[in-house]
C-alpha cells in the first residue's frame, strides 16, 4: 500500500518538477510547482507525518505559490515569449553544466553511502507515533499524534531557534515594507547603470507589456517603485474614474 502511494506521488513530483523547468508559460510552470508540492504532501502522509503534510499544503501551496502567481500576473511576464530573454550570456549552457555536475555529485554520494543516503532515523519516540498492536491482533490508535511531539520539541528543546526564526521573519517583513515604500515627493527614475555582466540587454518594453492594460495604467510611474497592492488599488481607481 505504502509502495503504491509512494510511486504514484513520486511520479507526480517528478512530472511537476519537469513541468516547472520545461513549460514556457510562467503561470503553467507555477501550477506544475503546485503539483510537485502536493505530491510531497502525499508522501508526508504516507510516512505518517500528518502535520508536515498539512503545513506543506497550507504554507507552500496555499500561500507561497499564490504570491508567486500574484507577482507573475501583476508584473506582466505571464506570456510565454518573455522567457527567451537571456540576461546572462550562455546561461542555458551554464545551467546544463551545473545540473550535470549536481547529478554526478548526488550519484557519487549515493554510491559512497549506499543504502544510507537519507541519514540516521532520529530518536524513535521523537519521530512518529504508531498504532499499538495488541496481542490479539487488533490495533489501538495512537493516542497522541505527532503534532503534540512536534510542538513539545519546538517549544522546549528548540524554543530559542524557533523564536530567533520568528524574529528573522519579522525583520524580513519590516525590510520589505521599507524597500517597497514610496519616497516622498515625485518619483525619480532609477539611475540607468548597465550591469557589467549584462552583455546582452533585455528588451526594455515587451510587446505584451505595451498592450497589457493593467501595466499601462502605471506607465507614468516607475514600475520598480510600485508595490503589489498599490498596483491593485491604482488599477481599481482608474477603473472607477473611467466608469
Amino acid at each position: 500500500m505504502e509502495a503504491i502511494v509512494f510511486f504514484v506521488s513520486a511520479a507526480i513530483i517528478l512530472a511537476g518538477g519537469l513541468g516547472v523547468i520545461v513549460l514556457r508559460n510562467p503561470v503553467h510552470a507555477a501550477l506544475s510547482l503546485v503539483a510537485t508540492l502536493f505530491g510531497v504532501a502525499v508522501l508526508f502522509i504516507d510516512m505518517e507525518a500528518y502535520f508536515l503534510a498539512a503545513v506543506q499544503v497550507i504554507v507552500y501551496a496555499g500561500a507561497i505559490v499564490v504570491l508567486f502567481l500574484f507577482v507573475i500576473m501583476l508584473v506582466g511576464v505571464d506570456k510565454a515569449e518573455d522567457i527567451y530573454a537571456e540576461p546572462i550570456i550562455k546561461q542555458r549552457q551554464f545551467a546544463a553544466l551545473a545540473a550535470a555536475g549536481m547529478l554526478i555529485l548526488v550519484a557519487l554520494v549515493g554510491v559512497a553511502f549506499a543504502g544510507d543516503v537519507t541519514g540516521q532515523p532520529s530518536n524513535e519516540d521523537m519521530t512518529i507515533s504508531r498504532a499499538i498492536e495488541n496481542p490479539d491482533g487488533t490495533t489501538t490508535p495512537a493516542e497522541t499524534s505527532n503534532i503534540n511531539q512536534l510542538a513539545e520539541a519546538l517549544f522546549t528543546d528548540y524554543v530559542f531557534a524557533f523564536e530567533i526564526t520568528a524574529l528573522l521573519l519579522t525583520i524580513a517583513v519590516v525590510g520589505a515594507v521599507v524597500l517597497a515604500r514610496r519616497p516622498k515627493g515625485d518619483l525619480q527614475p532609477l539611475p540607468d547603470v548597465e550591469p557589467s555582466w549584462a552583455l546582452r540587454k533585455p528588451r526594455a518594453v515587451t510587446p505584451t507589456e505595451a498592450t497589457d492594460p493593467s501595466a499601462g495604467d502605471d506607465a507614468d510611474q516607475d514600475p520598480d517603485e510600485t508595490t503589489v497592492d498599490q498596483a491593485a488599488t491604482d488599477g481599481a481607481e482608474t477603473d472607477e474614474a473611467k466608469a
Binding site: 503561470v27 503546485v34 502535520f51 503534510a53 498539512a54 487488533t138 490508535p141 516622498k184 491593485a232 477603473d239
Partner: protein
Amino acid sequence: MPAIFSLDPLFLGDAGNLEILAIVLAKVVIAFAGLMVSVMLMVWWERKFISDLQNRIGPNRAGPFGILQTLADGIKLFFKEDLIPDQSDRFVFKLAPYLSLVPAFLVFAVVPIGGDFSNGGDGLISVFGNDTYVQLADPHIGILFVLAMSSIAVYGIMLAGWSSGSKYPLLGSVRASAQMVSYEAALGLALVAVLLKTGSLSTTTIVREQAGEGPEFLGLFPMPDWNVIVLGVVPFIIFFIATTAELNRPPFDLVEAEQEIVGGFHTEYSSIRFALFFLAEFMNVVTMSAVMVTLFFGGPAGPDLGVLPAALWGFVWFFAKLFVFLCLFIGLRGTLPRLRYDQLMDLGWKLLIPLALGWVLFLATLDVFSDRGWTSGGERLVVTGVFLAAMLVFAGLLMVAISNGKKARERDGEEVFG
C-alpha cells in the same frame, strides 16, 4: 489496513476490506448527495428569504413554492452555449472551475454530521456491526484540512481571472486573492483558540469536548458546553467575519462588485463552467457554516429528546444549527452595504488579526494559571484585570501608530480614506 487514513475505528476493527470499502463508498455517496441537495435548497432558500426581506415574492413557478427553481436554472445553464474567449489561456480557463469546486466538496468530508453524542456518547454509530463516525473521514490533521482546502480554493478564483485574458476578471481575481490570503490569518488565529481548549485537531474530538453541560447561566440553568460560550464570544465573531470574507459573501463581495468590475473573476465564463463557480460558491457557504457549527456550536451534539432514535438526533441538531447559520449569511446579504476595499483591508489587518492574537494570549494565560492551580474567582479576576489593562495599552499604541501613519500619508499629499 493501516491507520494512515484516519482515526476512525472502522479501519482498526476486524471488518473485512470489502466491508470497509462498501461503508466508505456509502458514506461518499451520502456526503455528496447530501451536500448537493442542501446546496440546491440553499440557493432556493436564499432567493426566497431575500425576496421576503425585500418585500417581493421571489421564485414561485417551478414546483411548490418555486423549490425546483435551482434545478430549472441548472438545466438551463447546461444547454447554454459554452464560450471560450479568444484571448484566454484555454487549458487553465477550463481547469479553474474544477479547482474551486473540488476543495468545496472536500471540506465537507471532515465535518461530523451526525452521531449520538448525548449522555457521554462518543459519536459512533454501528453499521452492520461496525462502529464508525458519521463523517466521511476523520484524518489526523482534522481541522487543518479545512484550512488547507480553503487556501487551495484561492487558485480557482485567481486562475479563472487570469486565464480569461481580460481586464475586469484579472482585477477581480487580484482582489479575491489578496482578500482571501489576508483573512486566512485571522481565520487561523481564531481557530487556535478552539485548539487551545480542545487539545486535538480531530473534528470528532472537538465535537465530543463540547457535548454535555457547560457553565451555569447566572446560576440558574446550565448552558451547553459550546466553544462559543467557553472561549468568550470573540473567537467566534472573528472566525465568522473572516469566513464571510473568505467566502466573498456580502458585505465582503468586492470580488464581484458589479458596479466596478462587471462580474469579477467569472465575467468571461458562461454555461456549465459558470454554473460550476456558482455551485462552488454556495457549496462553500454550506460547508463553512458546517465548520462553524462544528467548531463553536457543538456540531451534532445535543440532548436526546426521545421520540426519534438517539442516533438520529445528531442529524437533527446538526442541520438545525446549520440552517441558523445559512439564514444569518442571507440576512447579512440582505442588510449590509458593501465595504470599500481599504476598509476591508483595515478591518482584516488592523482589527481582526491583533484582536485574535490578543484573545489567544488571554486564553493561554488563563490556561497556564489554571495549570498552576490559581483557579479561584479572585485570582481569575486579577488575571483578567491585568490582562485587559495590558491589552488596552497595546490597543492604544496600535491606534496611535495607525493614526500617525494616516497623518503622514496625508501630509505627503496622498488621498486617505476613512
